[in-house]
């Protein structure tokens, strides 16, 4: 991590912890969006940070953006920064990003799966996106206007909603539209992977704190090896996921150069890495939050402790795109290129 990235980590780490952390996430239930926090985040320039400089943004690389996302995830922030960022970058690539999106005055969101029949289903930020981009029938469309403000009830407290994309303005058509959408979804995978890494990191930290403090049988619970070994499985998962996310971002900052050659143990292709990052970070987060909650004993299960927020939230991030098993099968196709199968 460069010293610039360390500075980004520290600045946004403090911002999310103070302005958009677990307390705000609780207050924002069930919608999962805190407008006040979003306005404050806008003052930092974060909503346009990933937009190229010539489009009025901060020109940050994916490698920088995953650092911000990890801090957002570590604080279960009720802010749609990842979805906004990838949508803003997608719009900028098509010369269609407005000042309202760059500044964050309007929340931008992406339908991560193609729309059908004029309807984008279960859009991760569907309840709050005022500028919504979707792909339907190889056409990339944007819909602008007020967001419904009401989510489908979900255990991850995400602003998920179906959205109509009928009569949307067409941004691109054909292969260009498909490629732009695919690229944005891959960036979404990388950044969501980083959210999951942040949540994993924090879940481990909370467990370590709790078992160091809680005593049973006259000893800290964390002094029992059964508990130690359960926790010892986790830091490797967290670091591995973080490194994979970092490599994905690195590859994403160098478009068009990657390879995916499993036989040669060489994968630098952005799409393959993005799928790997999401799958692995998802698994790590599910395991870490489960163990952490368990080692909190009954308190982990109680509403008043924060670990349950993490347990629930990561189970949304990890599968709002698709069933992880299906994502794995898709990844197998990318890695194998099906050359070994025939």
């Amino acid at each position: 991590m460069s010293s610039d990235q360390e500075a980004i980590r520290d600045i946004f780490g403090s911002f999310f912890a103070d302005r958009a952390g677990p307390d705000q996430a609780r207050a924002a239930q069930p919608l999962g969006f805190d407008p006040e926090g979003w306005a404050r985040l806008g003052e930092t320039g974060a909503p346009g940070m990933g937009v190229p400089v010539d489009a009025g943004g901060g020109g940050a690389s994916l490698a920088d953006l995953v650092v911000v996302a990890e801090e957002a995830g570590a604080n279960v922030s009720p802010l749609p920064l990842v979805d906004h960022t990838v949508t803003a970058r997608l719009l900028a690539g098509l010369d269609a990003v407005g000042d309202d999106v760059v500044s964050g005055a309007a929340v931008a969101g992406l339908a991560v799966r193609p729309a059908t029949g004029g309807l984008a289903r279960s859009v991760p930020t569907g309840a709050v996106a005022e500028v919504l981009v979707a792909l339907e029938d190889n056409r990339l469309v944007v819909v602008r206007g007020a967001a419904p403000g009401e989510a489908q009830p979900n255990h991850a407290d995400m602003p998920i909603a179906h959205r109509s994309v009928q009569d949307g303005e067409v941004l691109a058509e054909g292969p260009e539209a498909v490629a732009a959408h695919a690229r944005a979804v891959d960036e979404w995978r990388a950044l969501t992977g980083s959210l999951l890494v942040g949540a994993t990191r924090m879940a481990i930290g909370m467990a370590v704190d709790y078992v160091s403090e809680r005593h049973q049988f006259g000893r800290p619970v964390g002094s029992f090896q059964a508990v130690q070994h359960g926790l010892a499985d986790l830091p490797g998962l967290c670091d591995g996921a973080r490194l994979l996310v970092a490599k994905t971002a690195w590859a994403g900052d160098r478009p068009g150069e990657g390879v995916a050659d499993m036989g040669d143990n060489e994968v630098t292709d952005f799409a393959a890495l993005a799928a790997m990052a999401l799958v692995f970070a998802g698994e790590a987060a599910l395991r870490a939050t489960d163990r952490s909650l368990h080692y909190h004993g009954g308190y982990g299960f109680a509403e008043e402790y924060d670990i349950q927020l993490y347990y629930r939230r990561v189970r949304g991030w990890a599968q709002v795109l698709d069933d992880p098993a299906r994502e794995c099968r898709r990844l197998a196709g990318l890695l194998l290129n099906d050359r070994e199968v025939d």
Binding site: Q152, M158, Q216, G218, A226, G298, F301, R312
Partner: protein
């Protein structure tokens, strides 16, 4: 070995099935999900009136204890609210095994009418896994006792008429030896019950406060100083009940897998899923037989042994894994928690949020593994620094 149910047990199963098909209506299930409280006194009373409850009390009368298993297994399969009933029947079992004639008349006979609930007051805020270190005090006062303290995670306390309360009566002896059990009226003004809000949105657990509560000596269950022994009977029974009645609902998962479409048609036809399903079923079947064996021991008048811990570990973890797989199969809809929108009425979402609690309640996975290691396998025990230390001299004792 005979793996078939006895004729009598088979008749009992058929009776329970027929009864539940009629009684567990959409209204009963709806009220359960609405309130988050898995107890229905109307249903409990009707079960008792139909003569189906008495057999669910371990060791009571001359009924076959396998009836307990059959009853809760069928309640589970029918999707009925039974958590309150399960705890009540555990208490009935312990009253039957250690109570006086007075307790049998006052408590047991009323519990098996299905019109009353009783809960277990064991865990405290600072003493969960180490439940023998509880600090709720009972002090002699003339003919009776005065009780002060606070209990935590008390399942169904808010639905209960009574609580079976584990107290410390002698701080001068080691922790396991100074405990005594009482049967307490929850309606006493000295008892206050507060809800614990759960991640799952349900309403099962409570905090219960006892302040200057005065009770008669006749409310004591078992001898003074024998509280740990009494508690162990219920703990083993609890693990048995939790271990069996909350197993996977295969009818639900098969229905879901038929409805969800994968790449090659319904998930039920996907090889990866079929492999998992068969694997789970094999585990469940192994578990069922382990439980039958324990039931057989019970029917011969033995108390359930440490092996009942095995079932609880396996079933709670399996429930979580199965719920996880089911919810993932539902892809983006697996996140939704609204029963009107989510697949399978959000049943698996509920399980996913509830299963972590099952892995804690009635003994954590780790405590149960300690029991299996030390008492089933006979491995050397962990160092127990406080085993022979008088409770008052323990670092955490009070």
């Amino acid at each position: 070995m005979d793996f078939a149910l006895s004729d009598r047990a088979a008749v009992f199963r058929a009776d329970v099935k027929a009864f539940l098909a009629e009684q567990v209506t959409d209204e009963v299930v709806g009220a359960m999900h609405e309130s988050g409280t898995f107890n229905d006194r109307g249903l409990n009373g009707a079960l008792a009136d139909a003569g189906l409850l008495a057999g669910a009390v371990p060791g009571y009368g001359n009924r076959d204890p396998v009836e307990l298993y059959i009853l809760f297994n069928e309640l589970e399969k029918a999707g009925a609210p039974y958590d309150g009933l399960a705890v009540t029947m555990l208490v009935a079992g312990v009253v039957h095994s250690v109570g006086t004639d007075f307790h049998r008349t006052e408590v047991l006979e009323r519990l098996i009418t299905g019109r009353h609930n009783c809960c277990l007051g064991y865990s405290e805020p600072d003493h969960g896994s180490d439940v023998a270190a509880i600090t709720t005090r009972a002090v002699r006062d003339g003919d009776g006792w005065v009780i002060d303290g606070r209990k935590m995670w008390t399942t169904m306390a808010h639905e209960s008429d009574w609580v079976l309360l584990l107290t410390r009566t002698d701080p001068d002896v080691p922790k396991h030896k100074g405990l005594t059990m009482f049967w307490i009226d929850m309606k006493d003004p000295a008892v206050e019950c507060r809800p614990i809000h759960q991640m799952s949105g349900g309403r099962e657990f409570n905090e219960v406060y006892f302040t200057d509560l005065r009770v008669k000596d006749s409310q004591r269950l078992g001898e003074v100083g024998d509280g740990w022994k009494v508690a162990l009977v219920t703990l083993m029974n609890e693990r048995l009940a939790v271990g069996g009645s909350t197993g996977p609902n295969y009818r639900e998962i098969m229905k879901l897998a038929r409805e969800l479409s994968g790449i090659a048609g319904p998930a039920l036809k996907e090889q990866g899923f079929r492999e998992k399903l068969a694997d789970w079923y094999v585990q469940s079947e192994g578990l069922k037989f382990t439980r039958f064996r324990t039931m057989t021991a019970l029917s011969r008048g033995q108390t359930p042994g440490p092996e009942s811990s095995i079932g609880k570990i396996i079933s709670a973890n399996q429930l979580q894994e199965l719920a996880n797989t089911a919810v993932e199969m539902e892809d983006q809809y697996g996140i939704l928690s609204d029963p009107d929108v989510a697949p399978a009425e959000a049943a698996f979402q509920q399980s996913l949020m509830w299963a972590p609690g099952l892995r804690i309640a009635g003994g954590t996975d780790e405590i149960l593994k300690n029991i299996i290691a030390e008492r089933v396998l006979g491995l050397p025990g962990d160092v127990r620094v406080d085993k022979d230390v008088p409770f008052k001299d323990m670092p955490t004792g009070r």
